[in-house]
Structure formats: C-alpha cells, structure tokens
Symmetry: C2
Subunit: 317 residues, 2 copies
Amino acid sequence: MKIILLGTAGAIPSSTRKLISTLVIRDGELFFFDAGEGVQQTLMNLKIGMNKPTRIFVTHMHGDHIFGLLGLIQTMSLLTRDKPLYVYGPLGIKNFLLTNIKNLGIILNFSLVIQEIKEGLVIRTNKFKIYAKKGNHSRTNFAFTLKENNRPGIFYPKKAKKLCIPEGKKWSALQKGKQIRFNKQIIKPSQVLGKSRPGRKIGISGDTRPTTRLIKFFLDCDVLIHESTYSKHDKLLAKDRYHSTSVEAAQVAKKSQTNLLILTHFSSRYNKINILEKEARKIHHNTIAGNDLMNFILPYPDEKRITSSYVLAQSNQ
Amino acid sequence: MKIILLGTAGAIPSSTRKLISTLVIRDGELFFFDAGEGVQQTLMNLKIGMNKPTRIFVTHMHGDHIFGLLGLIQTMSLLTRDKPLYVYGPLGIKNFLLTNIKNLGIILNFSLVIQEIKEGLVIRTNKFKIYAKKGNHSRTNFAFTLKENNRPGIFYPKKAKKLCIPEGKKWSALQKGKQIRFNKQIIKPSQVLGKSRPGRKIGISGDTRPTTRLIKFFLDCDVLIHESTYSKHDKLLAKDRYHSTSVEAAQVAKKSQTNLLILTHFSSRYNKINILEKEARKIHHNTIAGNDLMNFILPYPDEKRITSSYVLAQSNQ
C-alpha cells in the first residue's frame, strides 16, 4: 500500500503546495481522498494513468476539496476511460457533479457511480472495508478509514505434509484460509496455518475539529493523515473556523494509538511548515509534516522492515 | 500592454502545459481570456495579485476553459478582494458561477458582476473598446478583440508658443486632445498636435473553425492569439471537432493582416509544438507557438522598437 500526497494546501494554494488531495494505491486500485484543483495534471506528471480501478472519497463540499473533480472526470472521459468511476461523498456531491456535467456538455464514456453516504460502512470487499464518520466542521465533513481484513496466518508446509495433503490446489486453498475436503475429512485452515495476521488501517480526517468520536474511529491506525490547518499559536482561529492545530492533530494521533501521523491541509499563512511539525512531535513523536508529492510505502504491521522512528517509508519524487 | 500565456493546452493538460488561459495587462488592469484549471496557482507564482481591477472574458462553456474560474473567485474572496470582478461570457456563465457559488457556500467579499454577452460591443471606456464575435464551434464561442482608442497626435510646443498659449494646464489639456478657450478664442487640439496615432488591437479566437467573419473581425490586429489545436495533417479532425489547424490559424492571420500570430490551445497528442509553428510560418511568417508563461510586451504601432521578424517582444519567465 502506497500513500501519495498530491496536494497539501488548505483553502488557498501556494507556489509549492497544490490544493488538498491524498491518493492511496492498494493492489492496483486507486483511492482518492478529496480532489483539489490541479489534481489531473499531478496525476499526469506521476504517470499514474486514468483508467485504473478508482474510487474517489469526498470529505466535504468545500471548493478547495473538490474543484479538481470536474477536470479529472472530463479528462478521464477524453482519454476514453472505460472502467466505472465511483465517487462517495456527502449530500450535495451528486447534484454538484451531475449539474456541471450536464451544463458543460461533458460526455462520459464510462459509468459514473455517485453515492451520497452516511456514517458507517461505505464499502465492503473481501479484502478491505471503508468506513465514514462525521467530524465537526462548518459543513458536514466525513472522516474515513480504510481497514484491511486480517490475512490468514503463516502457512506451515510441515503440518500439511504430516496430514498427507498433496501440494498444489489444496495447499493453495488452505493458504488462503479456506477449508478443504481431503480423504473424506474436513481440514480447517487453522490446522496448517499460524495465527491470522492483522491488515493495515489508515485514517483520513478531512476538515474537522478534534473530537472524541474521531479518536475512537481512528483507533490503532498505522497511518493517520490529519488536517493541521493552523499552528498551536492560532488555536482560537482553528476553533472559530472548525479546523485543527498541529498539536490537536497530534493529540488525536496519540490518543488513538496511531503509529505514523502525517499532517496536511496547511494554511498558506505559514511559510515554514517544520514549525508545525515540531509542535506536533512534542505530543506524538512519529509525525511528518506532508509536502506535495511525498509518498509513503506502508508495509504490513507484521512485516515492518523500516525502523525509522519517523516514517514507515518516505521519499520525495 | 503585456500578454502572458498562463496556459496553452486544449482539452487536456500535459506535464508542461496548463489548460488554456491568456492574460492581458493594460495600464494596471487585468483582462483574462478564459480561465483553465490551475490559473489561480499560476497567478500566485507570478505574484500578480488578486485585488487588481480585473475583467474575465469566457469564450465558451467548455470545462477546459472555465474550471479555473471557481477556484480563482474563491481565492480572491479568501484574500479579501474588495474591488468588483467583472465576468463576461455566453449564456450559461451566470448559472454556472452562481449555482456553484451557492451550492458550495462560497462567501464573496466583493461584487461579482456577470454579464451574458451577445455579439458586438462588450465594453467601451474612454481608453479602449472590447468587441465579441461568434465563431464556429460545437458550443457558442465568442472571439474577442481589444481595440485601444487612437491617441492624440504628437504635441508641437512651437505651435502652442506661436499662439501665445501659456505652458501648464492649457498645454496639458491640448496634449490630451481637448479643445481649450484662450483669449476669447477656441483653440482646437489639431492646431498644436500632429496626426492622431493608432491604438493597439489584439484578437483572441477562443475555440473555432476559421471563418471569413472572423478574418474581418481580426482585421489589422497587432497580435492575434489563435487556437491551433491540430497540425495540418489532422485537418479532418479539426473540421470534425470544430477546431483550427496551425495552417488555418495562419491563414486567418495573413488574411486579416495581423502582425504577430501567437498559436495556443494545442492538443496533447503533439509532443513537438515547433512542427505546428513551422507549418504556420510557411503561411504567416511572423508566428510564435506559445508556451506556458511566455510573455509579450506590445509597444504602440508608431513606437515599434523591436525589429525581430518573429516577435514584438518575448521572454520566458
């Protein structure tokens, strides 16, 4: 699983930060969380491709989070996308997209599936689940978590051999956690596998004040991408405008026992974002202030190969 | 007068070209012709400022020409613009802007004046006029010309002295082309001035097939910024999609006796735009294929200091 920060600015872009958008790539599938203006050009620069299985999650209906959606959809269509595109967001997202598509005469080659969501389970596949939870912002904001299902435990060939199960399809089925029938007996995966291994969990805050409901929602995240619009010195402003400070984001990360906290959605008033990073690290040491095009490779919790105290893996493109 | 190409891509951006937008700066006033996605960030990079006297002209209601408008307007408001913003465009522009502004809860600090235009005179000031003319595109497209009023001729102090007119306010009025009263006589500016000097004229095509009406409309342009979506080798495609080839743009420039032709709005299929430039130069020698952030300083026709056969003045920022 890979996380790429496509844009890290809140409200207004700067010369170095595009408007907010976070991309998660998992098993060849793209998950966008918000799509600020300019996201289509960033995708082109990264050569990510416009015809991948794609789901877009909109946290809330503010322009800085969605103005890149229309251009992205139009370009996907001009580049003859044929896979369906799924968009999930709060009430209003359907009207915003369909009205503009109609009024501007955008012809879609692909199926655009728009779902206005509520709190709770948004998607369930046999690999992962995505949940939404309301935050506390000036417009209805959904935070999201992507939680992978647990994977089957490690396969022990010795145990399979002891049961005389022949290699091949039957081994493969057991490895995937499926029970099999062999010699008129039922063999359970637990007879040849170790303990099931946890999947990964990531959280995305959208724009919000910190809340205890969200702390619970983000519990045990491997990575939490949290808005940090303001410095701790502008706490009143954060409160007034329903945003979070760097320190508040760090408190959410700490209380939810998040591993890595990535700060994003910075106000353009701050030239030096490392100050916000320092503030947050005093509360939650494993914090990174995001920059555009930073990317993070996220190994399985039981396979952690990277021991840096700050990042699971990080590189600037 | 200065022309800056903010974006030169048609339909789809590339890694080096943003979507179409052309900025004309005249006497401290900004004139945008279209506002493709990302225009607000380009303005920030150029440090042009969000609170200048500004008029935005929309050629037609296709996404690639207007998706930058919403973000630009939102950012102007967040940066507490207080001057009115004037937007001129075809039927539909009002609904597009007002519906999105309302649905996304954008609060405007400034007066947004939207005018749905028809062919003919759009603006008249005491310095210049802006005209619109319909093109031939898949949606109603307006081409525009900005034509400065003629300036008074050169002032001859000797003639003024001969008439015994004292230096000061009266000279100044005559220099500005106003008649004065002196010694119970009316003095006309023509008594002390040379021939009136022509103002500058620029044309912007928007998206269109070449037409004889447009050739007439662009007559004697100092600079014509014309779409050149396709190479001459894709003429059928240009015809089918209501666009122009490089050669067709050059024919319009030649027949309208334009001085400098700037090609823009290139299809993303062409990696090497200089091929389109070469095609056009065979018809109209004084042609430049535009790149993002190219800018052109446009002297008065009677003050031409730059003798290059290709450009009036050009520099890459």
